[in-house]
């Protein structure tokens, strides 16, 4: 991300659109979308996912986990996929990340095909998320030398850390968007860490569906800035020229 690296640390990148409830949706949508994407995404699978949702009922929060069927369309190599749930479109790219110049057209294609099938009335959210796996060169290497985002543990606290997780949620675009940076250790492997960046539209219906792709482009710029801000020159060298 940011600069184009020879060995980017990206495990997965996801662009997700959640459509408002006003958007008409029925069981024919996955089939119609598959028809349009079949050439690029010929492999098809159905998956059941469980999503945790928190609903407020008379002031009390209640958790529920409805199971949802998702249609997933893969490329031949199975490293790029489009997932379609009820009023949900997600485009995933797995390692090896081919770069934004490849990912962006896939997002655009999936989104434009969906807009041809159903009239999108609003957007609850859009999110662009990157999961990076960062491997330090040795177990002795300190996070401070490679990252500008890491847990600060005061000297009166235990310093022998087994696992950790830190996250920060920041405000962008005058509150319209949010960005989350999260870093957690890979268990039993003191050299590896997961750096996750999630940039999302925090206010439902704050942009019209017609400019969704422009928002995605902006989001990508913000994600690049965040990523470049998280890493030091020393780590940058590891990702190649």
């Amino acid at each position: 991300m940011g600069r184009k690296y020879a060995n980017p640390p990206i495990l997965e990148a996801v662009c997700e659109f959640r459509l408002s409830r006003k958007t008409p949706w029925d069981i024919t949508v996955p089939g119609l979308l598959y028809e349009k994407l079949q050439q690029e995404f010929p492999l098809r699978e159905d998956r059941v996912v469980e999503e945790w949702k928190i609903a407020s009922l008379r002031g009390r929060k209640r958790r529920k986990s409805p199971r949802e069927q998702r249609a997933v369309f893969f490329t031949e190599e199975k490293n790029v996929m489009v997932a379609l749930g009820r009023r949900l479109l997600a485009v995933h790219v797995l390692r090896s990340y081919p770069g934004w110049s490849v990912f962006k057209p896939k997002i655009a294609k999936a989104w434009e095909c969906l807009t041809e099938i159903t009239e999108i009335q609003g957007l609850d959210t859009i999110a662009l998320s990157y999961i990076n796996k960062i491997d330090l060169p040795s177990a002795e290497a300190t996070l401070k030398g490679y990252l500008n985002f890491y847990p600060f543990v005061g000297d009166r606290l235990p310093q022998d850390i087994a696992n950790f997780m830190v996250a920060v949620e920041s405000i962008y675009a005058e509150g319209r968007d949010r960005g989350i940076i999260a870093l957690n250790s890979a268990v039993n492997n003191p050299r590896s860490f997961f750096l996750q960046i999630d940039y999302f539209l925090a206010q439902a219906d704050s942009i019209p569906p017609t400019i969704a792709l422009r928002w995605v482009e902006e989001a990508h710029s913000r994600v690049e800035e965040i990523f470049e801000g998280c890493i030091t020159e020393e780590l940058r060298k590891q990702f190649g020229p």
């Binding site: 797995l94 543990v153 022998d160 999260a182 890979a186």
Partner: protein, 197 residues
Amino acid sequence: MRQRSAFLSSAPLWVPSHRICVLRTQKASGLGVSEFAASKTGQENWWPERLILRRISRSPQTRPKEHSPRLWGVLPFWGRSSFTQGIREKLIRLERLGVRIPDPAEVVEYLVRFPELISVVDAVVRLAAKMLPEAQLTLQVYHNPEIDDQYLVLYARFASYDETTIERIRAVRDKYRPLFKNTSCWLLLTTDFRPPE
């Protein structure tokens, strides 16, 4: 008993149903564990809830004997579609079945590279657990030291080995071979003749 006392000393952190562990530290002895928890409340800050649901649900008595990793499976992007997170969740489920995964991040990375293996791994592990009930199963990525190659291995480790051990492992392999009919990769079930850890 010493192990148990370590659980009890940190037990209060498992009990509350609305906390998120952000940091886990461990003394050099490996027995003293202190954890720091933080929680957020309010409508906007719902995402930590997901962590609790997954990670802080077991009582100290039902936890494995060793301090099993609890933070590696979390992903703070509550409600996001994530393929990687799906793999992590699958591995967590396998760990709950008793399968050891010494370096889960490496297995996640491998499965992201070879996504066609994901559904098969689950089936193979479950089959092996059923057909080799007394074996300790360990899933890891094997690095061939001679050539730049790596693949996924499921080790079956037994308290004692005899002449039927290899035959039984082969029988499992024969059973799961059809699952790989349409894939270009392979998961090797074998043993290294070590005792269970």
